[in-house]
Each structure stands twice: as C-alpha cells, then as structure tokens.
C-alpha cells in the first residue's frame, strides 16, 4: 500500500450494479425486523388481489358460461303473454328455438300439505345448450318430457314429506315426481326464487290450467343461432336489432350470451366496489406496518449508512441501496400476496361450491393481479420513500454524533413529495378502477380522514400520558411514562387496532340494524302472505274463505300486471343514464297497478292525485326517489310495455313509499282507465292477528289452495328469511375482509412492539436495578397495554357508531340500533389481542438478563 497523490473528484454517477451488490450483501445476513414488512405487504396485497380475482373470476364465469346461463345464444322474454305467431316465426327464423314458461305455483299433496314451487315448463327442444342434471334416479333420461311427470329439487321432499314416485297437484293437474332436479342450464336467468324448483313439460303445463289471461307467467324464447353465426358479435347484434325493429311494441326483454345476468353482474360489481375499499384500507394499514418496519430498520442502519458515507458513498447511492432492499422485500411480499389472492377463487370454489351461484373461473386473472401489484408497489413507495430518503440524506456526522440529538435531520421535502405522489397515485388507481368515481373519491377522503384521526388520537394519548405520568401508584406511573415517552406505542396501537376494530364494529352494527329492521317489519305491520293470481271474480269468495277460519284476519288487494319501461320522455330505456341505485328499474319488468285512491303506506310529495272517475289521458304516479334517480319530474312521459302494447302516461304525482311496511305497493300506479281493460289478476295480502298458531295458518293456506288452485301463496316469512340469509352472506363476506384488516393490524402492532422490545428490556433492567419487583414491572406493562387497548377501542367504537349511524340513516334508511353485546364481544376480542401482545412482551422483558445489558452499556 503506497499513498496515492491527491486524486481529483470523479464525476457523480449512480453505480446501480454496485448498489445492487451492496444491497444483496446487506440482505444476505437477514432482513432483521423486516419480516413484518413482508407480512404486511403480503396481507394487504392479498386482500386487494383476492377481491379483484374473485370479481374477475365471477365476471369471467358469467362470460364463459353465458350460453349455458341463458340457455341459448339469445333469449327473448315476455311477461303475461305468449309470443304471437308472427313473433314466433321471426324468432324461429333466427335459428333453433325453445319456448318455456316460468311461474310460481302451489304444490299440494294428498295429505293436505302445500308448498310454493318455482315452475319451469319447457318444450322438447329444451335445453338448447348444456343438459338438465338428474340427481336421482341417475341416467333416467328426460323423464320430465313425459306428460304428468315432473322433476323437483330435493328441498321439496322435506317440505311436503314426499319422495320419487309421489303424487301431488299443481293447479288442476295431478303430477308424479319423476326424479330429483340437479343443476340446469339458464337457472341464473331465473328470478329470485322463494321455493324449490320444478321442471315439467309444456304438455303437463297445459293440464294445470294455470295459463290464464293475466296470469303471472314469463314466456321465454331461447334461440340457438347457426354455429357459423353464434360467436359473431355483429350477427348477434343484428338478430337483436331485427326483432326489436320488427316488433317495436312486443316488449321483449332481450339478453345475449355475452351478458347473461346483467342484474347479478351489477350487484356483484357494487359489492366488489364496497369490499374493494375494505381491501384498500387493509393495504394502507399494511403500509403503516411497512413504514414502521422500515423506520425501525433504518434506525438500526444509521451506523452502516454513516460508515458507507465515511467511505465515500453519496446520499443517492445509499438511497438506492436501501430502495433496492425495500423493493426486493416488497417484491417477496407482493408475490406471496398475489399467490394468496390468485388462489382465493380456487379455495372458495372448493369450500363453497354449492353456495356459489355459478362455478367460478378459477384460473389466475392478470388484470386484478396487476392492479394489486401496482397498488402494493405504490403503498411501498408511499410508506418507504420518505423515511428512506431522510435516512439516506442525513449527515454522517449527525449519525455518528448521538449525543447532540437530531435537530439537524432534514425534513426531506423531496422524498415527502414523492411519497405523497405515490399516495395520490394509489387513490387515483382505486378511483380509476371504480365505476362510481365520485363515491370512490369521497370514500378515499374518508379513509385518509380516519387514518389522520387515529394518528392524531395516538398523539393525544401520548401527550396526556406524558402530562399525567407522575400519578400514583408507581405501576400506573411507569405505564404512563412508557406511553408518554419516546418509543411510545400509542400511535401504533391507535392505527393498527383502531381501523380494523372500527370497521368490524361498524359492520356488526349495520348488520344488526338491518336485521332489526327486517324483523320488526314482520312483527308490527307486515302481512303474513301474498297471494298471486287471484281472479277478480273469486275475490269475495277468497275473502270469505279466510274469514271463516280466522275472523280477525285482514285482507288487502290490488290489481296487478307486469310491464317494462321502454322509454322515458321518448328516450329508449337502454340509452338512459340513470343513477346507479335506480338502474334496476329499467333492467326488467316491474309490477303495475291502477287505483283512484292513494295507495296505503304512500305519501304524495309532489303533484296531485287524480280525481275519482278520471277519464282523461293516461296518468301515472311514480316513486319519488326512483324518479329522482331516473331524472324524471312531474309532467314527464313514461312509456311502459304491457302485454305487447306500449302505453304512454304522464307523471301526475310523485310518492314517498314506505317499502318496509311490505304492504302492497308499486313503483308505478296508473289511472284506472289506462289498465283496467287489460287482462289481469289481483294480488292479495293476508294479515293474521298476533298469536295465530302455525296450525291455524296452515289450515288457511291449505283451504285456499284447495278452493283456488290457480292462486299462489307466498309466505312473507320465507321472503324475509331469504333476505336475511342473503344479508347474512353479504355481511359475512364484508366481515371477512374486516377481519383481514384486523389481522394486518395485529401484524402492525406486533411489528411496533418488536421494534421497541430492546428499549423495554433495557428499561426493565434499569427498573430492576433500582429495586422494582417482577410483579411491579408486569403490572406496569399490562396497565400500559390495557390503557392503550381500552382507549383505542373506545375511539374505534365511537367512530364505528357514527359511521354505522350515518350509513343507516342516509344510505340504508333504516333506524340505527345499538347492539351493546355484539360491540362488547368485538371489543373484548380486540382487547384480548392487545393484552396478548402485552403479555408476550412482558414475558420477554422479564426474561432479560440485567448483567448483559449493563455490561453492554
């Protein structure tokens, strides 16, 4: 070694290969303390990737199984009426055609048991795609084509106490159960079902006598295009356009295999959007863990950074070394997250195959995985760039000079701006991926506010603890000193526990409020049954039959037809830009009625009700909220297709409707002269006095179904149960994502606790040296964690209460219900989590050997 002469300064340049090499040397001996970094980013990315993958799997399944789901390349649906000869000829000219009828009916056994069934009557061409699965007897072939033989789902066996070969009555026809119906094509295209499905032939349907003018029957015409044209989008569009223009008044609801279940897809989209935000929150929370971990890591690396700089490393070089390390760890976390997310559809399919509406497309979906990767990287940059930049930029003298403090550490504006830009990009990504961007932007602001609120609360706890740290007894003073001092866990606990717990409690409270609303509606003012397809001429006899058994029963009735909105103010329905929560009104046929008095549970909020004996041009009264969503006002013209005829009516009034009452009500109520000439039937509600026994109720339904076989009874409790079941499933899915948030919170907390472990051990050693007993130290540790957990839980519950109250009041419009037991259970779970962390910490702290720490000093 011979000293060189003074060397000139080399030009500044970034040596990426050397930076990579140094980064790898550092990582080779382990990324101490950065396990939490990987776990947090993995869980956050997994949440986003899983939600995206599930959504994509569902959409892909819809698209891929489109033909099976609608049972053809195209489907044309009519309500109340069969297609005319000309219409049928035009449809048949498109390709192979199959006609089916779907309706609800009552199945009655010889023993007097009755049950609602969802019937589909099909012709011999059915099914055009796929096949009908016969669970039992296997390989029996198309037995449903035999007149008088039906297939039913197994649940009907339990309800009616029947089996294969049993006889029962549908309408006026005696039928035999030929087998158990399994999966069938086009089942998703069917409406929400309240009873077991039944498959029969057209010939069997004819025997039932249920096909009457005005009966609530959906006639569906499925068309299989010639193979050469089936996948040709233009041919598909041309076929639809041809039927539409050829029969402008027909009122066909047309679907094609490319979008077989638009309503289901829309519901899934909205659900995905909501859950995606829980995923984004989880990712951001994971980001907090990442930020904590990298700060802890960089604190340990101060000496290394100083050394590198002393050896001639530039700040930029140091930054790149640690950015490479962070990126490699983030890549590992993202890879794990992507794997978990990509496997979620497979896992759900394996666990809940029967509960899923259709088999998911379980292969990996690149777009959501790419989005999750991007979100993970942006989260990494958001939480890592600033602390890394500050650490890399710090003067080596400040690093080596511990005794002078850190006043000279610069703020790192450039890196703070970079982190902020990554955060904005992350939210922009979420907003860009969303359909309802304004809502998404508002929720994004909410998430940021919640984060800031919790961080602020943590800071407040720290300040208060510092202020009151001289309190007695000494264990409490030690706990407050730890909360209020440097290295405090206050902010970490607030953010890690607060978000997950708040979310979970809010979900619990909203669920309870919605359930309460459903349940209280039944108890107070909801009818017990709806009866469909009551003939006007039978109404009096129908009422008498009920009163004869239960004199205190209350009956209400209204004429009912179904029709589809085809235009608003002359603009075709498919071209109307409706608000998301009003789109469903245009998507399918709706119930219609006519009356000359304001219906019950309705209030006129705009306009006037038409006078009795009104004979003028057609008028309609519209649901006020939906009218707003559709952009309608008084005087606008609504065109509704009823029984193959377009009816134009001017909006005369807007009504606020209390749907929760479950009384008979309709979005559109017409003037009597508009509809009374059309063939139709009545819908009747039956309200039974409190205390009516199930036996009495059964007797009424049995009597009515025997005397009026064409009438269908729908038990409200069954609808409510179906709604509760659906609500339960949705809430379980949301809770699952909220639990993921809590798990990430636990990881963040564990990381924060681990980062402060050495300081705690050192303090415990000092306390022991000064005479503190193990019990006193244990007490102080547990008090500290207990206080932090309790205070954060309190705030989380408060935020959850406000959020749940606001959502119940303005979004769901149901009374808010506070469920103390559910909240207490959730809070206790979270507290147990924090105390467990405290107990583990205490155990480690107490196990620290005093001598080794003091000698090291």
């Amino acid at each position: 070694m011979t000293a060189a002469a003074a060397r000139p300064l080399a030009p500044s340049r970034l040596r990426l290969p050397l930076a990579l090499s140094v980064a790898m040397r550092e990582l080779r001996s382990g990324a101490g303390g950065l396990t939490v970094f990987v776990i947090c980013i993995a869980l956050g990315v997994a949440a986003v990737a899983a939600i995206g993958s599930l959504s994509a799997s569902f959409e892909e399944a819809l698209a891929r199984q489109g033909r099976l789901l609608i049972g053809g390349d195209l489907s044309f649906e009519l309500i109340h009426r069969q297609a005319s000869e000309e219409e049928r000829a035009a449809l048949a000219a498109l390709g192979e055609m199959s006609e089916s009828a779907s309706f609800r009916a009552m199945a009655r056994t010889g023993a007097g048991k009755t049950a609602l069934v969802e019937v589909k009557a099909v012709d011999d061409s059915y099914p055009l795609y796929g096949e009908v699965a016969l669970t039992e007897p296997k390989n029996a072939g198309p037995v449903w084509r035999t007149p008088g033989v039906v297939l039913v789902e197994r649940t009907l066996f339990d309800r009616l106490g029947i089996g294969i070969g049993s006889k029962m009555t549908i309408g006026e026809a005696a039928v035999t159960v030929g087998g158990i119906l399994g999966r069938q094509p086009d089942r998703l295209a069917d409406r929400l079902s309240y009873g077991p499905k039944m498959l029969m032939s057209r010939a069997t349907l004819d025997k039932t006598g249920l096909v009457q003018p005005g009966s609530l029957i959906r006639w569906t015409y499925r068309v299989k295009l010639p193979e050469t044209r089936a996948s040709d989008r233009e041919a598909l569009a041309a076929a639809k356009a041809g039927i539409k223009s050829g029969f402008p008044q027909a009122g066909f609801e047309i679907r094609d295999w490319r979008d077989p279940a638009p309503a289901l897809r829309r519901d899934a989209d909205r659900f995905t959007q909501f859950v995606s935000f829980v995923g984004l929150t989880a990712l951001l929370l994971g980001g907090i863990g990442v930020g904590n971990a990298i700060q802890g890591y960089m604190a340990k690396k101060r000496e290394v950074i100083a050394t590198l700089k002393c050896l001639g490393a530039e700040s930029r070089f140091v930054l790149v070394v640690y950015l490479i390390q962070a990126s490699l760890l983030a890549a590992a976390g993202i890879a794990v997250g992507l794997l978990l997310g990509a496997l979620t559809p497979t896992l759900l399919s394996a666990l809940y195959a029967d509960a899923l509406p259709l088999p998911l497309a379980v292969e990996p979906h690149p777009l959501p995985l790419l989005t999750a990767t991007l979100a993970g990287l942006l989260t990494m940059v958001l939480f890592v760039l600033w602390p890394l930049g500050r650490a890399a930029n710090i003067s080596p003298a400040a690093l080596l000079r511990a005794q002078i403090g850190d006043e000279r550490e610069n703020f790192g504006w450039l890196y703070a701006t970079g982190s902020l830009a990554a955060g904005i990009a992350l939210f922009a990504l979420a907003i860009a991926a969303s359909e309802e961007r304004a809502v998404t932007a508002a929720i994004s602001v909410g998430i940021v506010t919640a984060f800031l609120l919790l961080i602020g609360f943590g800071f407040l706890m720290q300040r208060l603890a510092f202020r009151f740290r001289r309190i007695r007894p000494p264990a409490l003073a030690l706990a407050l000193t730890s909360i209020g001092g440097p290295g405090s866990l206050a902010r970490s606990v607030a953010i890690s526990l607060g978000l997950g717990l708040g979310l979970l409690v809010a979900v619990v409270l909203i669920h309870r409020s919605l359930l309460n609303q459903i349940e209280s509606s039944i108890e107070v003012d909801a009818p017990a049954y709806y009866f469909l397809d009551v003939e006007a001429s039978d109404l009096e006899g129908f009422k008498q039959a009920v009163i004869a058994i239960e004199p205190n029963a209350k009956l209400d009735d209204a004429p009912m037809l179904r029709g589809r909105i085809v235009a608003l103010n002359g603009v075709p329905a498919e071209k109307i830009d409706a608000a998301p929560d009003a789109r469903w009104v245009l998507s399918s046929d709706r119930g219609l009625t006519y009356t000359d008095t304001v219906p019950p549970a309705s209030t006129i909020v705009e306009g006037e009700w038409w006078p009795k004996d009104y004979k003028g041009p057609p008028l309609v009264s519209f649901d006020a909220e939906l009218a707003k969503g559709l952009g309608l006002k008084l005087g606008d013209v609504v065109t509704v297709n009823i029984l193959g005829r377009n009816v134009e009516a001017k909006i005369a009034s807007l009504r606020k409707i209390d749907w929760e009452s479950l009384a008979i009500n309709f979005i559109m109520v017409f003037t009597p002269t508009t509809l009374e000439g059309a063939p139709h039937r009545l819908v009747t509600t039956l309200e039974l006095p409190k205390g009516t026994s199930p036996a009495q109720e059964g007797r009424i339904v049995r009597t009515l179904s025997e005397r009026f076989p064409l009438v269908t009874a729908i038990r409200i409790a069954d609808i409510v149960d179906a709604a509760k079941d659906l609500l339960g499933k949705v809430m379980t899915a949301i809770s699952a994502t909220a639990v993921v948030t809590l798990v990430i919170g636990a990881a963040v907390l564990a990381g924060a606790v681990a980062a402060g472990q050495e300081r705690r051990k050192y303090l415990a050693v000092i306390y022991k040296t000064l005479g503190a007993t193990r019990l006193r130290i244990t007490r102080a540790e547990l008090i500290e964690f207990g206080l932090l957990g309790a205070a954060t839980s309190g705030l989380a519950v408060l935020i959850a209460l406000l959020t749940a109250w606001g959502l119940c009041k303005w979004a769901f419009e149901v009374p808010f219900v506070f469920a103390p037991l559910s909240v207490a259970g959730t809070v206790l779970l979270a507290l147990a989590l924090v105390l467990l962390a405290g107990a583990l910490t205490t155990w480690r702290v107490l196990s620290a050997k005093a001598a080794s720490y003091l000698r090291a000093e």
Binding site: A4, A6, L9, S12, R15, R25, R28, E314
Partner: protein, 240 residues
C-alpha cells in the same frame, strides 16, 4: 534537512479560523472556536485533549463529515467551501481513509467485502484482489469470509485499518483507534497502523488520549474547549 523538506511540502490539510457550532435542545453548542492548523503532506499529527475538547469534531471537519460554521477548510487542495455533501463523499472515497474507535465495519458484510467497499466506490476493477492484499498486510488473510461479529475487537480494528488504507489515501484519519481495545491488542494495532502509514507515506491525523501514542507522531496538537492550546514539535517537525 528533513525539517526543511517537510516544510517545503504543500499542506495536505489547512484549517483557517474554523468554528463549529451545533444546535441542541439546550441551545447552540460551540464545539470548535477558531482553529488554525496546517498539516503538510506526509506528516503525522497527534491531537490530544480532554473529553469534549472538540477532537472528534476536528477530525470530522477534516473528513468533510461535519461542516465548519465559519472559517476555511482545504484538504488535498480542495477547498470545502461550496462543495456539497456528495462532492465531499467522493473526495473522501478518493483521498481520505478513516479509522474509528468503534471500528464501524458494516456488520452484514464479510471482512473482505468491508475492505473492498471503498475500492468499489472508486470503480477499481480488481477491488477484491486489492482488498485481499490489504487484508494480508494486516495479517487477516484467514479471516476474509468472516463477518465482523465473528471477529475479535483487535481483528475488527485491523480490518478497519485495511479498509482505510486499501484505496491508498493521501490522508489517514484515526479517532481513538485503540479506545475499545485492551493494552496488548491496542499496541499491536498501533504498530500495524504506524508501520503501514510509514510505508504508504500518508498524512496521519491521530486523535488520542494516549500520550505514548502521541509521542510516536511528528507533532502533537493539544485541544481544550474547542481551541488549540498547545502545539509541540516532535521529531524535528515545526509548529504551524
């Protein structure tokens, strides 16, 4: 003659009226208060003084790790005024080797990687071959692949010396290099340091509490309360 030669040599280190004041929570702290020092190329200077006298700060100012609040600092012909932190980092890489009391080896790198690092910063194509040679010179060939945690204190300091001298710096700065070592090991390390310094001819600035070590230098500068309070010539070297 030797004295004349030394005096004619250009100054490797020039400090003129250097002040360093650092902020702290208790208010500004004056660490150095008007230091004037000139160290010619090849000279070995010991800086002595009580704790808190500003010795380490003086070293950091010369290394470009600390900014002078006032005054002029020129090292190997480069005036620090107007140089940004990265310029100074590159100046260190090329011209200054530093040995610390606490060694400051990168704990995640092996001995040879630690020694090779400054050479890599200088883009030496054969950084590891040179590092191997440097380790051999400090007698640690058999410890090349050991991590700092697997080495004794003396061995760690020898690695640090090899690392400091491997790029053949014009200036070697040493801050209490035996402070964390026992007497015997400390003596061995200092023999090694002085031996290598002699061979390389690097200018040495040694911060020490140890009078016997200071005596091995050409000159001793005493610091107290941030000022030079005494400077004596040793081995016929003139006081600045």
């Amino acid at each position: 003659m030797e004295q004349q030669l030394k005096q004619r040599k250009p100054a490797a280190i020039t400090l003129e009226a250097v002040h360093v004041t650092l902020p702290s929570r208790a208010g500004p702290v004056a660490i150095l208060r008007g230091i004037d020092l000139k160290v010619p190329e090849g000279e070995a200077v010991a800086v002595v003084g009580p704790s808190g006298s500003g010795k380490s700060t003086l070293l950091m100012v010369i290394a470009g790790l600390e900014r002078a609040t006032q005054g002029r600092v020129e090292v190997v012909g480069t005036d620090y005024a107007g140089r940004n932190e990265d310029d100074l980092a590159r100046l260190r890489a090329a011209n200054i080797g530093i040995v610390f009391q606490s060694f400051h080896l990168v704990p995640t790198m092996t001995a040879i990687e630690n020694v090779a690092l400054p050479l890599e910063f200088l883009d030496h194509a054969d950084a590891f071959a040179e590092a191997r040679k440097a380790l051999a010179e400090v007698g640690l060939s058999h410890r090349e692949t050991h991590f700092p945690g697997q080495l004794s204190g003396g061995e760690q300091q020898r690695v640090a010396i090899a690392r400091a001298l491997a790029p053949k710096p014009a200036i070697l700065l040493a801050d209490e290099p035996t402070g964390n070592l026992d007497l015997v090991t400390g003596a061995e390390v200092m023999d090694l340091l002085f031996g290598l310094r002699e061979r390389t001819g690097a200018t040495l600035l040694l911060i020490t509490h140890d009078r016997s070590l200071a005596k091995r230098c050409d000159r001793v500068v005493s610091l107290a309360d941030g000022r030079i309070v005494g400077a004596g010539a040793k081995r016929k070297v003139a006081v600045p």
